[in-house]
């Protein structure tokens, strides 16, 4: 391995990368597009609570509190109420039992059910219980003895409310990293198909030099872009070291996938054809941050889940090493396997 030659090859790749107008345009447009999306998203949580209500008995007071920041919408059945809460139409649902009057009359405690979205914070749950007690008091004129049952619909992701734009941070990081797959794959596949790699190999440059240069270039390019965008959108404010390590592993993962694609693809169109399925699959986990209720177990077989989840937890919740070390370990494992698989496939192609 010759450091001097590797340096020359990296500068050559850098020069070529910025001369490929299509790739450069994709990269720049993506970069700008992601930032625009981030900054047009609401930066605060909507404080007007939209609540669904199922009540078989008439409770007029529940319809008179909208000016107090509550929007209570009646629904026709408990099932409809649950579905509406689960799909995010309401942050919470209140279900009044049909026998509420009879139970109160017979001095029994009726059970009022509260349904919450998966990521509803504890403050909301507490507030909802207080609201229900207040509304019942306003309706009857005196405190009533009843029990409140809380039910989380879907997977419970208890936490602090996160403004929508902050939820985008992991998504943008993963987009930047994964889009780099396209550029790097194209660069490498062209090097093979146009046989410029052969020209390099009859100089003192070796296959190892070329691979080290490509790896440094690929990882560096993806990593720098991801760090840059995360810095601009405030993704480095909490746990920067964890975020940096996650992004570095993500960049290496993207480079490994680029190697795999380059070993198969012949031109830009086939790079696109091979990249799109990879991109779609790898980006799926980032949507779990935007739509937490959609998380299912199978998503954990996608390597980027551990990248997204780590960045999300570190950036949005300030989670430390104790919370995410397993994530990082699994991500490291995936990255090593995919990177070396990519290297192996590409080496075979070089031969």
């Amino acid at each position: 391995m010759n450091i001097h030659i590797i340096g020359i090859l990296i500068s050559k790749d850098l020069s070529l990368f910025f001369r490929k107008r299509a790739i450069l345009l994709l990269t720049l447009m993506g970069f700008i597009f992601y930032l625009v999306i981030y900054f047009v998203m609401p930066s605060t949580v909507d404080e007007n609570l939209e609540i669904g209500l199922y009540s078989p008995v008439p409770l007029p007071i529940f319809n008179q509190v909208e000016e107090e920041g509550l929007e209570i919408s009646p629904l026709e059945s408990e099932e409809l109420l649950k579905e509406a809460v689960l799909d995010g139409s309401y942050v919470a649902g209140i279900s009044i039992p049909a026998d509420v009057v009879e139970k109160l009359d017979s001095k029994q405690k009726p059970v009022i059910s509260l349904y919450f979205t998966p990521d509803a914070p504890q403050e909301l749950k507490d507030a909802m219980e207080t609201i229900v007690r207040e509304l019942v008091f306003m309706q009857t004129g005196h405190p009533l003895a009843f029990e409140v049952s809380e039910e989380i619909l879907g997977q419970d992701l208890t936490g602090t409310p996160i403004p929508p734009r902050d939820r985008l941070r992991p998504l943008l990081a993963i987009f930047i990293l994964m889009m780099e797959i396209l550029g790097l794959s194209n660069l490498i596949s062209e090097e093979i198909e146009r046989r410029t790699a052969r020209a390099l190999l009859v100089t003192p440059a070796t296959v190892t030099d070329i691979f080290v240069a490509k790896s440094i270039f690929g990882i560096g390019l993806a990593f720098i872009q991801a760090v840059l965008i995360m810095t601009i959108i405030g993704g480095m404010n909490k746990q920067p070291l964890i975020v940096l390590i996650s992004l570095l592993l993500g960049a290496e993962l993207a480079t490994g996938i680029s190697f795999l694609i380059s070993a198969r693809a012949r031109d830009f169109m086939s790079v696109l054809a091979w990249s799109v399925p990879f991109l779609i699959i790898l980006i799926i986990p980032s949507f779990t941050i935007l739509f937490p209720g959609a998380v299912t177990g199978w998503i954990k077989i996608i390597p980027t889940y551990y990248l997204v989840d780590t960045v999300h937890r570190a950036v949005n919740f300030g989670s430390g090493w104790g919370d995410i070390w397993i994530n990082l370990l699994i991500l490291f494992g995936f990255t090593v396997v995919i990177f070396y698989a990519g290297l192996y496939m590409l080496r075979r192609k070089f031969r």
């Binding site: 020069s15 001369r19 146009r194 020209a199 390099l200 009859v202 100089t203 003192p204 070796t206």
Partner: protein
């Protein structure tokens, strides 16, 4: 120091069951131009790939400048230049950037890129991207790239294939200049005139074997036929060709008869071409 720049000893290579290079032996002296001729698939490019260390032989040895290429290719890389059959330049770079890149890879710090571009007739286009070049210009740049390190051995794989006469002539001049500089040139070509004009010796390769190796003159004397060709005027103004083989017992009589009985318009002597000889030896043409 060996007198030979290139030594191939029992060199063998096969792809699966297909033998591409079949136990070939040859030596190329320092400063010699060896023309390596053969039809497509004869094993010429595989031989170059082995000699330049791009492929390891399955048998035998390739020795360049006294070094076994398979054992220590790094030692010879700095002393060889390779011009590939297919154009493999960085097309989004300029000619100057291409040449500078390879000069840096060879560890050359001081390098007059303009002089080299002038030598190949690209002096005014050095700052243009290669993607804007014609095929002939790209090929000349390929040749320039292969001599950027002033190699002791220059491998040229079909350097003039499909080029116009001007570009071909420019490349011929470069080859001669490089030989004059002291470089050994290993040239594969389909162009028999080019091989005849440039090569000190030519090797005919067919189906992985070297079937003949000598100077063009010796090959012609050994395998070729000399002849006398004449155009004769027939009745009605029609022209017909007549050919009389030289160096036979019947030759004097045949010539006497021709001049006595025919109205001769033109008369020429004819030598065998390398292609004729190749066909005679192998039973097949060079371009199939």
């Amino acid at each position: 120091m060996s007198d030979y720049a290139i030594i191939a000893e029992n060199l063998t290579y096969y792809y699966g069951n297909l033998i591409a290079v079949d136990h070939i032996d040859f030596k190329v002296a320092r400063g010699e131009i060896l023309g390596f001729l053969g039809p497509n698939g004869a094993g010429k490019t595989t031989t170059i790939n082995i000699l330049t260390g791009q492929m390891k032989p399955k048998g035998g040895r390739a020795i360049l400048l006294g070094i076994d290429v398979a054992e220590d290719v790094k030692k010879v890389k700095g002393d060889i230049g390779v011009c590939f059959e297919t154009i493999n330049l960085y097309e989004q770079m300029t000619a100057i950037e291409n040449l500078n890149l390879f000069a840096r890879l060879f560890g050359i710090k001081s390098f007059d890129v303009s002089a080299l571009l002038n030598r190949v007739g690209l002096g005014g286009r050095g700052k243009d991207r290669v993607e804007t070049y014609s095929k002939g210009m790209k090929q000349r740049l390929m040749v320039a790239r292969s001599i950027v390190n002033q190699p002791q051995i220059l491998f040229l794989d079909e350097p003039t294939a499909g080029l116009d006469p001007t570009s071909s002539l420019a490349i011929h001049n470069i080859i001669i200049q490089e030989r004059n500089r002291g470089a050994t040139v290993f040239l594969t070509t389909h162009d028999m005139v080019e091989a005849d004009k440039l090569s000190d010796r030519v090797a005919f390769m067919n189906q992985g074997k070297i079937v003949a190796l000598d100077t063009p003159l010796n090959l012609k004397q050994q395998y070729g036929k000399r002849a006398l060709t004449a155009k004769v005027l027939m009745s009605g103004g029609r022209l017909e060709d007549r050919e009389i083989a030289l160096d036979t017992a019947d030759t004097p009589g045949s010539i006497k008869e021709l001049f006595a009985n025919e109205k001769i318009v033109t008369v020429h002597s004819k030598e065998a071409t390398l292609e004729d000889i190749f066909i005679k030896i192998t039973g097949r043409g060079l371009i199939e």
